[in-house]
């Protein structure tokens, strides 16, 4: 089984081809183009610029992936694309391109939920068995899910306001650390003192595993405003970055620990995905949470944690294997919760 996957829901344009044979699974090609430079001047992703850039680049990336894989369209079994949730202008570009390929070569079209792509990546990389507990932490999402099977997700908690990556990005902006903020905060935190500023621990002691980051963002603002007048000193910025990272990690640990109490079935593993899962402090803490609950901690390599097309091709392949395909009049969805209960 061989599937081509397209990802265009945020600021990465990507195309991948994955294959599963008796002997195992592999990625035949992954062509990815990041739009970080296009959005940097704005300090965040501008939807219309993203949509335009996806259209400019996607067809060439498809051709590059096909030639890197050295295969013909005929040898594909399906064409998958992120059909939501995400920035709808970009999603439409990916979906229309996939539908066109599917129509011309008479291959099934698979509309993939971007979050399902993240959720199933650990099966591609580590063959994790169901059910497992998944922490999805990215620039747009922060949720804890029990993954029971393809299409079977129980959302245990989600963010009540901002996503974790968004919190890093906004704080980095305020501190003048650069864009994207996550890596900038992590780097600054290395030379900072995490106990210098006493930032809040959101929802501490509260039941459930919902998340909240907007209070931390506000606390960073207030802390900067309370500093002596004048320009922000380098040491203040790095200490605040370290304090923020510590607070975010502590909050996520607290919530995930609660999540382990809420699962219906004992999970086989604790899995992390999403761009923020690149954060070393968070990984180390999550590893400990997993150990405390007697399960292995699985986190895909960074390039498969952030937005990519391998996860979309793989989710497409898993769906296709189960006969889950979609019609060519499928409507792209800007919002698309993973668990049917919230659909």
């Amino acid at each position: 089984m061989r599937v081509l996957g397209i990802e265009t829901s945020c600021d990465e344009t990507a195309v991948a081809i994955v294959e599963e044979r008796q002997g195992g699974r592999r990625c035949l090609a992954h062509a990815l183009s990041s739009q970080i430079e296009e959005h940097r001047p704005f300090g965040g992703v501008v939807p219309e610029i993203a949509a335009r850039t996806h259209l400019d680049r996607l067809d060439q990336l498809v051709e590059r992936a096909m030639s890197d894989a050295g295969i013909e369209y005929d040898s594909l079994d399906g064409i998958a694309a992120t059909a939501g949730p995400g920035l709808i202008g970009g999603v439409i570009v990916g979906v229309m391109t996939a539908k066109a390929l599917s129509s011309v070569h008479r291959k099934p079209f698979i509309a993939v939920n971007h979050l399902e792509g993240h959720a199933l990546t650990a099966r591609f990389t580590d063959d994790v068995a169901y059910p497992y507990l998944l922490l999805l932490v990215s620039g747009g999402h922060c949720q804890l899910l029990e993954v029971k099977g393809v299409g079977h997700y129980q959302r245990l908690g989600t963010t009540l306001d901002d996503a974790a990556g968004e919190c890093f990005d906004k704080a980095a902006k305020m501190l003048g650390l650069g864009f994207p903020g996550g890596p900038a905060v992590e780097q600054a935190a290395q030379s900072g003192q995490a106990d210098r500023f006493d930032l809040p621990r959101p929802l501490k002691g509260r039941d459930g595993c919902d998340f909240s980051f907007s209070g931390l963002k506000t606390a960073v603002r207030h802390t900067v405003e309370a500093l002596p007048a004048g320009s922000l000193q380098k040491q203040d910025a790095v200490d605040l970055a370290a304090s923020l990272q510590a607070a975010v990690v502590a909050h996520i640990v607290d919530r995930c620990s609660n999540g382990f109490e809420m699962v219906e079935n004992t999970p086989t593993a604790f899995v992390a995905a999403g761009g923020v899962a690149a954060n070393i402090a968070l990984r180390t803490a999550m590893d400990q949470v997993a150990e405390d609950h007697g399960v292995p901690f699985v986190v895909p390599p960074v390039e498969l944690c952030t937005d990519n097309a391998v996860m979309i091709a793989w989710a497409g392949l898993e769906r296709l294997t189960l006969g889950l395909t979609d019609p060519l009049d499928f409507k792209p969805k800007p919002r698309w919760p993973l668990d049917a209960a919230n659909a």
């Binding site: 610029i49 400019d56 202008g89 439409i92 906004k170 501190l175 409507k331």
Partner: protein, 220 residues
């Protein structure tokens, strides 16, 4: 010469298969939204009706705007996708040009095309009696568009014409055509040279984006 042509840039989804100037099949539905859902099934239906397969086509033609940003991308993503999937050349034409050409079949008068640009504006482009554009399309308020038209005897067409008409001189007369017809697009594209690169969108209006002051820093 067999051409598959389609337009989703304004308030329609129009698909045609034409062969040597003759329309083999035409799908033409007015719709403001929903082209991302309607287009590929409409293409398949039209091809079936024409009895033509993708492999038997000689070229693909697609309207590149100006129009709705989303509509422009729906058509171009599909057109460029079909282009790489079939290996056939893809020809892009301005939506304004297609609308003017259809209007001029009947009138052969100088023609002004106004396309609804939302936010109370229109995309305006004028074509002389030979169908040659007098300037690139521009995004204007209806009053400003009327100033451009002056007291010249234009036939005013396009789905933005109703916005401009109240402001124009009596020399400017309303025409019939509101949206692009894919048959006209196909026949225009049939005679065009084959471009070296896939067609690019014509948005006219830049993206809405303002860089935050000091990059959003709280302090310098």
């Amino acid at each position: 010469m067999r051409v598959l042509a389609f337009d989703t840039t304004t308030s329609a989804c129009s698909v045609a298969v034409c062969e040597d100037g003759e329309t083999k099949a035409l799908f033409h539905d007015l719709m403001v939204h929903g082209q991302a859902e309607a287009l590929i099934p409409a293409i398949e239906k039209t091809m079936n009706e024409a009895g033509v397969t993708y492999g038997e086509l000689d070229r693909i033609a697609v309207a590149v705007g100006p129009g709705s940003f989303t509509g422009v991308r729906v058509g171009l993503a599909a057109g460029r996708g079909i282009g790489i999937a079939t290996g056939h050349p893809v020809i892009g034409l301005l939506t304004t040009e297609v609308i003017a050409a259809e209007s001029q079949i009947a009138t052969s008068l100088p023609t002004a095309v106004a396309i609804d640009a939302r936010r109370a504006e229109v995309y305006l482009q004028c074509f002389d009696v030979n169908g040659i554009a007098t300037a690139a399309p521009a995004c204007l308020l209806p009053e400003a568009a009327a100033d451009v038209l002056g007291n010249h005897p234009w036939v005013l067409v396009g789905d933005g014409a109703v916005r401009v008409q109240p402001h124009v001189d009596s020399a400017v007369v309303p025409g019939e055509i509101t949206v692009a017809n894919a048959s006209v697009l196909a026949n225009l594209a049939a005679t065009r040279p084959i471009p070296q690169t896939p067609p690019s969108p014509i948005y006219v209006r830049p993206p809405d984006a303002t860089a935050p002051k000091d990059g959003g820093r709280l302090r310098p």
